[in-house]
């Protein structure tokens, strides 16, 4: 059965400042990924991209898309599943939502739709409730939700959900991965990345899905995606973000176990060209690097004789390695974008 995707990006709200600059870029990036690497046939209309209007209308009541627009898309999928002999609307569903948002509970976050205002936050879509609806009722075998929005605590009850008649136990073998840009109560931020404005969560997600999170054999699993996102999101934050206790340093992620068995995509692993700075005085020391490779926990990755310099250039996957300079041990961490840390071990 086909994979489906619903992707929403709202960056200019009629009555909800400030105007964002990342959601449109991010939604388009994600749309491009799901229709190329994510297994969704865009030409068959299986991917729905909904962007807010730019500029937005003068008043929020005229702004689109609204929660009704999105709920109608959900209705269509639900109807399709209920008409289908096997009760499914597809194999996999991607939900990607980006814009202003809030957190109404520890387990969920809501995207504020284009018609929301500061005094009318009821115009929202709770992401996880809907993802759970499609997951637990077996309308899809796999459900992936990515929500790039703030999770400030709002004085707002959860509305616009799918109802309370959800099956408590998902079908056997069903899998889900839910990614929120922030923990409950924290702010998501957008920053200039590669010459364009992006949400830092989505920028990290796209790096991960384009090979950053691949295992040696090219599988991006629930486990490797979580590991990549937890480790690398803060790499896009500014120093002031890192000091601000309200700004999320890590995303909030959930994957139905067993996480390593959920293969999200197959993308060749990305290696980073790194230059390891060697400590002063080690110019004439032989170098060895140990770490994980080919499914083995701890093997020699590379070695080189001393060459009189304090730099060692290598192509490495993300990860933590042991650097041995003769018998002196250091820890080298290669992060997603090739930044490295070297610390004494």
């Amino acid at each position: 059965m086909p994979n489906r995707a619903i992707i929403v990006g709202i960056q200019a709200y009629a009555e909800l400042p400030p105007t964002l600059q990342g959601p449109k870029n991010d939604a388009k990036l994600f749309y491009d990924w799901v229709t190329t690497q994510g297994g969704v046939d865009g030409n068959a209309g299986h991917a729905t991209l909904m962007l807010g209007e730019e500029p937005p209308p003068k008043t929020a009541v005229d702004a689109k898309p609204t929660e009704e627009t999105l709920k109608y898309q959900f209705d269509l999928l639900e109807d399709e599943a209920q008409r289908s002999p096997n009760g499914r609307a597809g194999d996999r569903l991607y939900l990607y939502l980006s814009g202003h948002g809030f957190g109404q509970s520890l387990s969920d976050a809501s995207l504020l739709m284009a018609n929301a205002t500061q005094l009318r936050p009821r115009h929202h879509i709770p992401g996880r409730l809907w993802a759970d609806h499609f997951f637990a009722n077996g309308y899809f075998k796999e459900v992936l939700l990515f929500l790039d929005c703030c999770r400030e605590r709002y004085g707002m009850a959860t509305l616009n959900g799918p109802g309370t008649t959800m099956s408590p136990v998902p079908p056997n073998g069903a899998r889900c991965f839910y990614g929120f840009a922030t923990k409950y109560g924290k702010l998501a931020v957008e920053r200039m990345i590669d010459g364009a404005m992006h949400g830092v969560f989505t920028a990290t997600l796209m790096d991960a899905l384009n090979g950053g999170a691949s295992e040696d054999d090219g599988r991006i699993t629930g486990e490797s995606l979580k590991a990549y996102l937890y480790e690398n999101m803060k790499g896009f934050l500014l120093a002031e973000d890192l000091e601000d206790s309200d700004v999320a340093k890590e995303p909030d992620l959930y994957c139905e176990p067993p996480e390593k068995d959920f293969v999200i995509a197959r993308v060749p692993p990305r290696e980073f060209s790194v230059t390891i700075p060697l400590p002063a005085g080690s110019e004439m020391k032989a170098r060895q690097l140990f770490g994980e490779k080919g499914g083995k926990n701890f093997v020699k990755i590379a070695d080189a004789a001393a060459d009189g310099s304090l730099k060692w250039k290598l192509d490495l996957m993300r990860g933590t390695y042991q650097l041995l300079l003769n018998t002196e041990s250091f820890v080298v961490t290669v992060k997603g974008r090739g930044a490295i840390d070297v610390t004494a071990s």
Binding site: G155, L159, S345
Partner: protein, 534 residues
């Protein structure tokens, strides 16, 4: 035999932390989670390799890498970590010495003597990192502006004081305001009036012989012009002290505060590991030894309930001990509903402090509809908020929330209408009925107007429902169609789900359902609804 030879050698990695409640995560070289546990000391058996160990305390974490090729001779040690707390406790990262001194001093003074037997202490303060001092200061008024304390009972309602008027404050540095009110034991309501006129109400229990100490940060609230700063109810820290006066270095207060952070940040099944204990063994031992800090007991009892496998014997011990320490207290009685202790809790006339306590009460009303008195039910007719771990009610601003017309659905009614399939049916009817001006019926979605200049990629068309369905206002549904009728049988299980989702006791929820039924059935243009309560 060969299997034994192929088995990788295991090494013991021991981690020690300074706090009982620290979470310990052992990650492999690629950042995958290998094992996790709790402080203060934990040993993991892991294969030879490179690991990163993360220790999470409150909302902060420390991290160390270790290359494990032989058995380490010493534990990997993590020192105490300063964490964010609105209580200016020793070892937190958001305290100035002058805040600690103010809390210590002012909690021992009485600013308002309304009664004897108990007292309530409030400290409201701003906190900015030293690197982010704004000029001019972001808060120029009294930090307690908009806060007032009220006594609310069946015999009437009385304002006790405005905290900004009756207390003391200092606007130098990061400003603070403090107020101690002597009261007779009971439940009191703190009201926060926002710049928009909206009022938020939070309950505080004052127990005989105890001082309830509440610490609040500040936050910005949106207004139609510039945002304004007021107290932040969502991050309140509440501690109890037998002796009057705040003790910033009392070790158990740090344990209690970390337990509150756990309650505010962890849910059942958090991180997909529902079977993982939320309460470390050391804390369980603490509870078995007849603890003396009641807030720690209340937070801990709720954490026990969030675990997949509840240690019922320990839970009963904790609740029994709390009853002995505090007497009648709505949060303790809410916990007693699950403990099955005698005497059974009597109907609740006052709301609890914690939102999880309210959930326990609301859930129990499915079996005991009289558990929430009419008096309490009447006080909870506004919106129910979950402000962090606290149970906060919202009274709408009269200038903003105009009275709805008699067919307009409230937020909760609209949510129930969605739940029962009414709104979905309306959306479907919209798509299949004749359009205006004699257009032919169409099931084809109408195109969504897209932003100018955006044309890349094939886009699925989306119906322009915004003109068709005004959210929650069903009386503008002017096109004639034959509305279907929806039968909604609601048994105890579904009622319980609805009570849990909306946080509304069963009797009130049934009333909302009846109102919804009546509104829909009075409107000829929308489906009729028939609710069958089983």
């Amino acid at each position: 035999m060969s299997q034994l030879l192929d088995t990788p050698m295991k090494l013991s990695l021991t981690i020690s932390t300074s706090d009982l409640q620290s979470d310990i995560l052992v990650l492999d070289a690629r950042g995958r989670l290998v094992q996790r546990g709790c402080g203060p000391i934990q040993t993991f058996d892991v294969e030879e390799g490179i690991y990163r160990v993360k220790v999470l305390t409150g909302t902060e974490f420390q991290e160390k890498s270790i290359v494990l090729t032989k058995q380490p001779s010493e534990p990997l040690r993590f020192g105490p970590l300063s964490f964010v707390s609105s209580a200016p406790l020793a070892g937190t990262s958001t305290s100035h010495e002058y805040h600690v001194a103010a809390a210590d001093r002012e909690s021992r003074n009485t600013h308002v003597a309304d009664g004897t037997g108990s007292s309530l202490f409030f400290l409201v303060r701003d906190w900015t990192p030293s690197t982010a001092k704004a000029a001019p200061p972001r808060i120029t008024g009294n930090p307690a502006e908009g806060l007032s304390l009220h006594s609310v009972s069946t015999t009437g309602e009385r304002k006790i004081c405005d905290l900004a008027v009756s207390g003391v404050s200092d606007l130098r540095g990061d400003p603070w305001a403090a107020c101690t009110i002597g009261v007779v034991p009971g439940v009191y309501e703190l009201r926060l009036q926002l710049p928009t006129g909206e009022v938020r109400r939070q309950s505080f229990a004052a127990s005989a012989g105890w001082q309830t100490q509440s610490f609040l940060f500040m936050r910005q609230y949106a207004t139609e012009s510039l945002p304004q700063w007021r107290a932040d109810l969502s991050r309140t820290s509440v501690l109890l002290s037998r002796q009057r006066g705040f003790a910033p270095s009392e070790p158990l207060l740090r344990v209690a505060e970390l337990a509150r952070v756990s309650l505010a940040t962890k849910g059942s099944g958090e991180g997909g590991e529902a079977s993982r204990p939320l309460l470390p063994q050391e804390m369980r031992n603490l509870f078995r030894e007849k603890f003396s800090n009641p807030m720690l007991g209340i937070y801990g009892a709720h954490l026990l309930l969030l675990e997949k496998s509840v240690d019922l014997a320990l839970f009963r011990d904790v609740v029994g001990n709390l009853r002995g320490l505090l007497g009648s207290h709505p949060d303790v009685e809410a916990l007693a509903l699950r403990a099955g202790l005698q005497p059974q809790p009597v109907p609740f006339e006052q709301p609890p402090m914690l939102s999880r306590s309210w959930s326990l009460i609301a859930d129990a009303t499915v079996e005991r509809p009289d558990l929430v008195t009419e008096f309490l039910a009447q006080r909870n007719t506004g919106d129910f908020l979950s402000e962090g771990p606290w149970y906060v009610r919202r009274s709408p601003s009269p200038s903003v929330d105009v009275a709805p017309n008699d067919l307009e659905l409230s937020d909760v009614e609209a949510a129930l209408a969605e739940d029962l399939g009414v709104l979905k049916l309306i959306r479907r009817m919209r798509q299949t009925q004749p359009q205006q001006s004699g257009q032919t019926p169409s099931t084809a979605p109408q195109p969504l107007s897209l932003p100018e200049g955006f044309g890349e990629g094939p886009l699925a068309k989306t119906p322009d429902l915004d003109e068709a369905v005004a959210p929650y206002v069903v009386d503008d549904f002017t096109h004639q169609a034959t509305p279907a009728s929806i039968d909604a049988p609601i048994d105890a299980s579904r009622l319980r789900s609805m009570v849990a989702q909306f946080g509304i006791p069963s009797t009130q929820l049934k009333g909302v359902l009846t109102n919804l039924e009546q509104k829909l059935n009075r409107n000829p243009n929308v489906p009729n609804l028939r609710v069958f309560l089983k």
